[in-house]
C-alpha cells in the first residue's frame, strides 16, 4: 500500500481506486489529469472517491495520488469580495486559466499568493498566545479589518513579530518553539472551528424587511429556513438579506442554482451601498457559486466551504450571516452521491443520514465566545426548494426540526404580487422571547404588545375572510368591516415591501415600530369616529391616510411619520363631525 494507487472503477462522479493508502476524507488526485476528489468510503483494499470534476474519458488503470490532506480551505486576507466555486477555486482565476467554460484538471489557490498585504502587529514579543488569539490586523477592504489569528491548536510565546507588507504565506510572527505564523491558515471544511462556548442569542439580525424583523425576527447566531415553491421569491429574499441585513460579513452560497442569478449578484453588489456603512456591499461579501450544472460533488462541498469561511470571520469577533440558496440542491447532491454508492436509501431516495447532516450544518450557526473571549456569531439562512411547494418532504422537514425561524413563502401570495410572499399565518419565529428585551431597550417598551396586536389582527382577518368569501364584505357588521380595512392596511402598507425600490427595500426597526403604531392609531381613531356617528366609508378614505401610506416611498419618512399620523387623526375626527 502506498500513497499512489490506481483507478479500478468509474461511475459518474464516483471513482473506486485500489492500492491507495487513504484515510476517510483524504483529498486525492484522480487520473492523468489530476482531477480533485475526496475519499468517502473504504472497502478493504478499495477506496471510494467522489470527484469534484467531470470524469468522462477517465479510464481504469490511471493513477490516483493521495495528498494526505483533508478537504480544506485557505483562510486569510483576500477572501472578501471574492467569488469561488464549491471547492474554493476563485472563478476569475478559472476564467483566466480555462476560458469561458469550466473544464477540468486546473488547480487554483483560494487566496492570492502574490498579493502583499500590510500587516500591523497588535501583539508584541514576549506575549503568551494561544489558538484564536489575534496578533495583528490587515485592512482588507475599506470597511473590514481582517484580524490575523494564531491557528487553533497552536500556542506559545511570541519570539518575534514584525509589521510591513507580506504575502499571505510569508511568516509574520515566530513563536519560541520555532512555529512560524503566516497570515494564511488552513482549516478542514467538514470540521467546525473551535470556540470557548455558545451563548443564547439576544440580539436580532436586523434585515430591514418589515415582516421579518417585526413579526418573525431572527437572532444573530440563529438559524432560519425559507421554503418556497419556484417563483415565490426565495432568491430575491435571500439577496435582500445579503444586501441589507446588519451583519458585518456576508457569505452567500449559490448552491445548485441558476448561473444568471450569480452573474446578477456579481453585477449588482459592487454597485450597491451597504446601508449600515455607506460603502459598497461587496466589501463585506464572500460569494460561493456552484451552479446547477457544475459538478455535483463540488456542490456537496460548497456549503461546508461557505460555513467554514463564515466561522473564520466569526472567530475574529464579527457577526456573520450566511445565506445558502438552496439547501435542497445540496441535499440532492448528497442523494446523487449516495445512490452511486448504492447505499440503502431513506425517504424519497435521500440517504438515511440526510437529517443528521442538515442538523450538523445548522448547528454550526450560533453566537459564541471566541477563543480570544470576544463575541462573534454566525447566522444561517437556508432556502429550501420543496418539490411542488409541498413542505412535507424530507429536506423541509429535516430543516424545520432544527431551525427556530420559519419564513414560509407562498405561491398564492406571489401570484397576487404580494411581495415578500411570506405567509404570515404559517410562518413562525421562536426568538421573540429572547429578543424582546432588546426591542424594549432599543426601540420601545411596548414593542412586544404592538407586535401581538398586529399579528392577532391578521389572524382575525383570516377568519373573517372565510365569511366574506361566502357572503361578501357588505354583509358584515361595521366593526368587522373596519377590522378588514385595518388588516388590509397591514398587508398593503406594512407587510408588502418592494425589494427593488431604493427607499422601500430597507426599513429600520424604529420606523417599523412607528408604522405599526400608525396602523393601530388608525384603528382606534376610526373606531372612535364611527362610534361618534361617522360613516365607515368617509372615515377610512380620508386623504391623509393614503398620504401616510404612500409617503413611505419617500425620503426621511422616519422624521415625517408622526406628523402624517397627526394629520390623519385630525381628518378622521373631522370626517366624524361632518355627519
Amino acid at each position: 500500500m502506498s500513497k499512489n494507487g490506481q483507478i479500478y472503477r468509474i461511475s459518474g462522479p464516483v471513482v473506486t481506486a485500489i492500492g491507495l493508502n487513504a484515510k476517510m476524507y483524504d483529498v486525492v488526485r484522480v487520473g492523468d489529469e489530476g482531477l480533485m476528489g475526496e475519499v468517502i468510503e473504504l472497502h478493504g483494499e478499495k477506496a471510494v472517491i467522489q470527484v469534484y470534476e467531470d470524469t468522462s474519458g477517465v479510464r481504469p488503470g490511471e493513477p490516483v495520488t493521495n495528498t494526505g490532506q483533508t478537504l480544506s480551505v485557505q483562510l486569510g486576507p483576500g477572501l472578501l469580495t471574492q467569488i469561488y466555486d464549491g471547492i474554493q477555486r476563485p472563478l476569475p482565476i478559472l476564467l483566466e486559466k480555462m476560458g469561458t467554460f469550466i473544464t477540468r484538471g486546473v488547480d487554483a489557490d483560494g487566496l492570492d499568493q502574490e498579493k502583499k498585504w500590510t500587516f500591523e502587529p497588535t501583539a508584541k514579543k514576549g506575549d503568551k498566545v494561544e489558538g484564536g488569539h489575534v496578533v495583528g490586523t490587515v485592512q482588507e477592504t475599506e470597511t473590514i479589518a481582517h484580524k490575523i489569528m494564531i491557528p487553533p491548536n497552536t500556542s506559545g510565546t511570541i519570539k518575534s513579530i514584525k509589521g510591513g507588507d507580506f504575502t499571505v504565506s510569508e511568516t509574520v510572527c515566530v513563536l519560541d518553539d520555532g512555529t512560524e505564523i503566516a497570515m494564511m491558515q488552513r482549516w478542514p471544511v467538514r470540521a467546525p472551528r473551535p470556540f470557548k462556548q455558545k451563548y443564547a442569542p439576544d440580539t436580532p439580525l436586523v434585515t430591514g424587511m418589515r415582516i421579518l424583523d417585526f413579526l418573525f425576527p431572527l437572532a444573530k447566531g440563529g438559524a432560519a429556513g425559507i421554503p418556497g415553491p419556484f417563483g415565490s421569491g426565495k432568491t430575491v429574499t435571500q439577496q435582500s438579506l445579503a444586501k441589507f441585513s446588519d451583519a458585518q460579513i456576508v457569505v452567500y452560497i449559490g448552491c445548485g442554482e441558476r448561473g444568471n442569478e450569480m452573474t446578477e449578484v456579481l453585477d449588482e453588489f459592487p454597485e450597491l451601498i451597504d446601508p449600515n456603512t455607506g460603502k459598497p456591499l461587496m466589501n463585506r461579501t464572500v460569494m460561493i457559486a456552484n451552479t446547477s450544472n457544475m459538478p455535483v460533488a463540488a456542490r456537496e462541498a460548497s456549503v461546508y466551504t461557505g460555513i467554514t469561511i463564515a466561522e473564520y470571520f466569526r472567530d475574529m469577533g464579527y457577526d456573520v450571516a450566511l445565506m445558502a440558496d438552496s439547501t435542497s440542491r445540496w441535499a440532492e447532491a448528497m442523494r446523487e452521491i449516495s445512490s452511486r454508492l448504492e447505499e440503502m436509501p431513506g425517504e424519497e431516495g435521500y440517504p438515511a443520514y440526510l437529517s443528521s447532516r442538515l442538523a450538523e450544518f445548522y448547528e454550526r450557526a450560533g453566537r459564541v465566545e471566541t477563543l480570544e473571549g470576544e463575541d462573534g456569531s454566525v447566522t444561517v439562512i437556508g432556502a429550501v426548494s420543496p418539490p411542488g411547494g409541498d413542505i412535507s418532504e424530507p429536506v423541509s422537514q429535516g430543516t424545520l426540526r432544527i431551525v427556530k425561524v420559519f419564513w414560509g413563502l407562498d405561491a398564492p401570495l406571489a401570484r397576487q404580487r404580494h411581495f415578500p410572499a411570506i405567509n404570515w399565518l404559517n410562518s413562525y419565529s421562536l426568538y421573540p422571547q429572547s429578543l424582546d428585551q432588546w426591542f424594549k431597550d432599543n426601540i420601545a417598551a411596548d414593542f412586544p404588545e404592538v407586535r401581538t396586536e398586529i399579528s392577532s389582527l391578521l389572524q382575525v382577518e383570516a377568519e373573517l375572510q372565510e365569511i366574506v368569501q361566502l357572503v361578501g364584505s357588505d354583509a358584515l357588521p361595521v366593526d368587522q368591516q373596519l377590522t378588514l380595512e385595518v388588516a388590509r392596511m397591514i398587508r398593503e402598507y406594512f407587510l408588502q415591501q418592494n425589494a427593488f425600490h431604493e427607499i422601500d427595500a430597507f426599513t429600520g426597526v424604529q420606523q417599523q415600530y412607528l408604522m405599526a403604531k400608525a396602523i393601530l392609531t388608525f384603528q382606534s381613531e376610526a373606531k372612535n369616529a364611527i362610534e361618534a356617528g361617522g360613516m365607515l366609508e368617509d372615515v377610512v378614505n380620508v386623504p391623509a391616510r393614503s398620504n401616510l401610506m404612500r409617503s413611505r416611498f419617500e425620503d426621511n419618512y422616519l422624521d415625517r411619520i408622526e406628523g402624517l399620523v397627526a394629520d390623519m387623526t385630525k381628518e378622521i375626527a373631522a370626517a366624524a363631525e361632518e355627519n
Partner: protein, 459 residues
C-alpha cells in the same frame, strides 16, 4: 486505440449491455456493436471497471446476443461541427436525415458541454419582441433566457413555439435569429408540422434540425438535446449567431431518463424519476445565455407537456426551479376558443424586470404590465363570486373589473397565428382596454403615464 473487438457480453438488460474483462475503457466512451447479422448499433459507457463494463445502447438492444462484437472507439461522444450545419436536418444521433452529405467537420465538440463559468456570463438584457401580446407585455422574453412553455396534451404549444420562431426579433438591432430545433420523441405528424412550417416561411434554410421521433430509440433521446445544444453553442460562440433553441418534448426526454434509471436498478426519486434529474435537466437548461467577449447568444424555448395538467409533477416542477420563468398554457382558455391560450397569472419571466423600460420597450411598460396583471387577476377572481351571488350584487368597481377580464381574454390575449404586434401596438392596446375601468381604480398606474398614454388624454 480503436480496433479490438470484444465478444465478452455477459448480460443484456433493457437498453444496457454488460461486458466482462476488456482493455481499460474510459467513462463515457463511445461504443460500436456489431450484431451477428452484420448490422451496427452505437452506445456509450455508463460504468467502467477492470472487471465489468456497462454500455447503454442508443438504438435499443433488440438482436443483441452474447456473440455480438463490441468495439470501443477510444473517445467520448462528439459532434462534428461546422458552419455547414445550418440548413441541415439530422437524426437524433447526429447523422444526416435529409439525404444530404455527411457534415464536413471544422472540429469536434464534446456533447456533454462544460458549464459556463458564472463569472464569464453576461446578464441578459435585450428585449426580444415575439409579436405575441401576452408574452411581450406580461412575460417578456429576453435574449439569452431559458423560458419554457408548460403545456399539456391537446394544447396548441407547437403553434405558439412556431409563431415565436417566425416572429422573434430584436427591436434594438436588425440582428436575426437562427433556429436550432430539437425533436425528442414527438410524432412524425408533429415533426412534419414543424418542418413544413419552417420550410414554408423559409426559416429552414437558417435552421438546424435534430430529430428523434416517437418510434426512434428512447435512449437516443438522451443525446439528441445535447447534440442540438452543442451545435447551438458552436454557432453562437464561434460564429456569432443569435440562436433560438426550441426543443420538444422535455417530458419524453425525462421518461427516457427514467427508463435508463430503471434498467440500471437505481433508487428512484419522485414518481420513479431518477434523483439526479434536476442536475441532468440543469445541464441542458443552463446551456443558455450570453458570455462576455462573444457576440452570439443562446435563447432556449423548451416545450414540456405537464402530465395530467399538473404543474407540481416532477418534470415541470424541477424545470421551473432551473428556468428563468415559464409560460403556462391553459386548457380552459383553449376550451373557450382563445389563441394563444396563455394563462398570464402563473406565467412569469424572471428576467423581465431588469429588461423592460424606456431603453428597450417603453417607459410605461412596467406600470402597464402590473396593472393589466392585477386587474385581470381580480376580474378572474370575481367570476367565482358572480357564480354564487350574481352580477347584480357587485359594486361598480367590481363590475368594471369583471368586464375587463373578459376583454383581456378576447382582445388582448386573442390574436391570429400570423398576427405580429409590435410592442407599441401591444401597450397601446393595453391602454385602450384599461380605459374601460375608471382611472381611480387603476391604482398601479403611475400618474405621469396616465397623463401621457391614457386614451382620454391622448387626443
Amino acid at each position: 486505440m480503436a480496433g479490438k473487438e470484444y465478444r465478452t457480453i455477459t448480460d443484456v438488460k433493457g437498453p444496457l449491455v454488460f461486458l466482462n474483462k476488456t482493455e481499460p475503457v474510459a467513462f463515457g466512451e463511445i461504443v460500436e456493436l456489431r450484431l451477428t447479422d452484420g448490422s451496427m448499433k452505437n452506445g456509450q459507457v455508463l460504468d467502467t471497471s477492470d472487471d465489468l463494463v456497462v454500455v447503454q445502447v442508443f438504438e435499443g438492444t433488440a438482436g443483441v446476443d452474447r456473440t455480438t462484437g463490441v468495439k470501443f472507439l477510444g473517445d467520448v461522444f462528439k459532434l462534428p461541427v461546422s458552419n455547414d450545419l445550418v440548413g441541415r436536418i439530422l437524426d437524433g444521433a447526429g447523422r444526416p436525415r435529409d439525404g444530404g452529405p455527411e457534415i464536413i467537420a471544422d472540429g469536434k465538440a464534446d456533447i456533454i458541454g462544460a458549464a459556463i463559468n458564472p463569472y464569464a456570463r453576461q446578464s441578459p438584457h435585450d428585449f426580444i419582441q415575439t409579436g405575441i401580446s401576452a408574452i411581450d407585455c406580461c412575460t417578456t422574453l429576453v435574449r439569452g433566457q431559458k423560458l419554457p412553455i408548460f403545456s399539456a396534451s391537446g394544447l396548441p404549444h407547437n403553434d405558439i413555439a412556431l409563431q415565436i420562431a417566425r416572429q422573434a426579433k430584436l427591436t434594438a438591432s436588425d440582428e436575426q435569429f437562427i433556429v436550432v430545433f430539437c425533436a425528442m420523441g414527438i410524432t412524425a405528424e408533429e415533426y412534419n408540422f414543424f418542418r413544413s412550417d419552417l420550410e414554408r416561411t423559409g426559416a429552414l434554410e437558417n435552421a438546424v434540425l435534430f430529430v428523434n421521433l416517437a418510434d426512434d430509440p428512447a435512449v437516443e433521446r438522451l443525446i439528441t438535446p445535447r447534440l442540438a445544444l452543442t451545435a447551438a453553442e458552436y454557432l453562437a460562440f464561434e460564429h456569432d449567431y443569435h440562436v433560438l433553441v426550441i426543443y420538444t418534448d422535455v417530458t419524453n426526454y425525462c421518461d427516457a431518463l427514467r427508463q435508463i434509471g430503471a434498467a440500471r436498478e437505481e433508487v428512484p426519486g419522485r414518481r420513479g424519476y431518477p434523483g439526479y434529474m434536476y442536475t441532468d435537466l440543469a445541464m441542458l437548461y443552463e446551456r443558455a445565455g450570453l458570455v462576455k467577449g462573444k457576440k452570439g447568444s443562446i435563447t432556449q424555448f423548451p416545450i414540456l407537456t405537464m402530465p395530467g395538467d399538473d404543474i407540481t409533477h416532477p418534470i415541470p416542477d424541477l424545470s421551473g426551479y432551473i428556468t428563468e420563468g415559464q409560460i403556462v398554457i391553459s386548457r380552459e382558455l383553449h376550451g373557450s376558443g382563445i389563441y394563444p391560450p396563455i394563462n398570464v397569472l402563473p406565467s412569469l419571466s424572471r428576467l423581465m424586470g431588469g429588461t423592460i423600460g424606456e431603453k428597450t420597450t417603453r417607459e410605461d411598460h412596467k406600470s402597464v404590465s402590473d396593472q393589466m396583471y392585477a386587474a385581470y387577476a381580480q376580474g378572474r377572481e370575481l367570476r367565482g363570486l358572480v357564480a354564487i351571488v350574481g352580477e347584480d350584487a357587485l359594486n361598480e368597481r367590481d363590475k368594471q373589473l369583471l368586464s375587463f377580464s373578459g376583454l383581456f381574454e378576447d382582445k388582448f390575449l386573442r390574436q391570429g397565428r400570423y398576427e405580429d404586434r409590435s410592442i407599441d401596438e401591444t401597450l397601446d392596446l393595453c391602454w385602450e382596454l384599461m380605459s374601460t375601468i375608471e382611472t381611480k381604480y387603476l391604482v398601479r398606474l403611475d400618474q405621469q403615464w396616465i397623463d401621457k398614454y391614457h386614451p382620454d388624454n391622448k387626443e
